[in-house]
Amino acid sequence: MSSLEAGAALEPQEFVVRRSDLVAYAEASGDHNPIHQDEAVALAVGLPGVIAHGMYTLALAAHAVAVWTDDAEVVELGSKFTAPVVVPADGGATVVISGVVKRVADGTATLALEVTCEGEKVLGAPKAVVRVG
């Protein structure tokens, strides 16, 4: 567990996203949008290729938050999906999640996250608020 003091940096966590992960996530979430599985459909609607569900990336961020906070109760979680995580057929895409404790007050800690794929930010202003103490 990371120290949850204002200003503390949160140890970066790395996740490899493969197409098989997107198939499993589609089953688990009920989101069977073909842009997350079928290259031809993704290209046909103007995407650069098969992309991860935004909610899959946000779920990884939630997982990272759980690790940093020793499974603290989450009271707020959100982000914009600003750039797609393009997942190649072979291998996968590496998502790196880091963060900083922005504020600790009134029994909650606010974490500002940074989520990148191949060095590019993929989430806009990802943020989590957790209960502490």
Partner: protein, 130 residues
């Protein structure tokens, strides 16, 4: 086909209740790499997404032309096994830029007693036909 601007302000019917079972949570946790004891924070997307699908179906919007622009959850309490969750979606805004619809929705997720469990705000981007 653009999304009908008169939808703004409309509240859609609630989804049928989703019973939160250990099996369903375990599948979701495994798919998202979660190793924690708690139900993953994004789990309410399951019922929220059902509300979205019902909305898209009622408006005849093709799922493949949708991408997710933003998602926010505000939780009243954690989801627990045995919860029966229902999501009700409202359209809160619509902007149209170059044939792309940017739709804002808010879904309230309630339990069997009708108590609020969480609120899910989403921006959905509907890409025009090529």
């Amino acid at each position: 086909m653009p999304i009908d601007a008169s939808l703004v302000g409309r509240e859609f019917p609630p989804t049928p209740p989703l019973l939160v079972t250990e099996a369903e949570v375990a599948t979701f946790a495994a798919a998202t790499g979660s190793g924690s004891q708690r139900i993953p924070a994004t789990f309410p997307i399951v019922v929220t997404f059902r509300a979205l699908l019902e909305f898209l179906e009622s408006e005849q919007v093709e799922l493949a032309r949708i991408v997710h622009g933003e998602q926010k959850f505000a939780y009243e309490r954690p989801v627990v096994i045995g919860d029966e969750l229902t999501a009700q979606l409202s359209v809160t805004g619509l902007r149209q830029i170059d044939g792309t619809d940017i739709l804002r929705t808010s879904s309230t997720i309630t339990d069997a007693a009708g108590e609020l469990v969480c609120t899910a705000g989403a921006t959905i981007v509907h890409r025009a036909d090529a």
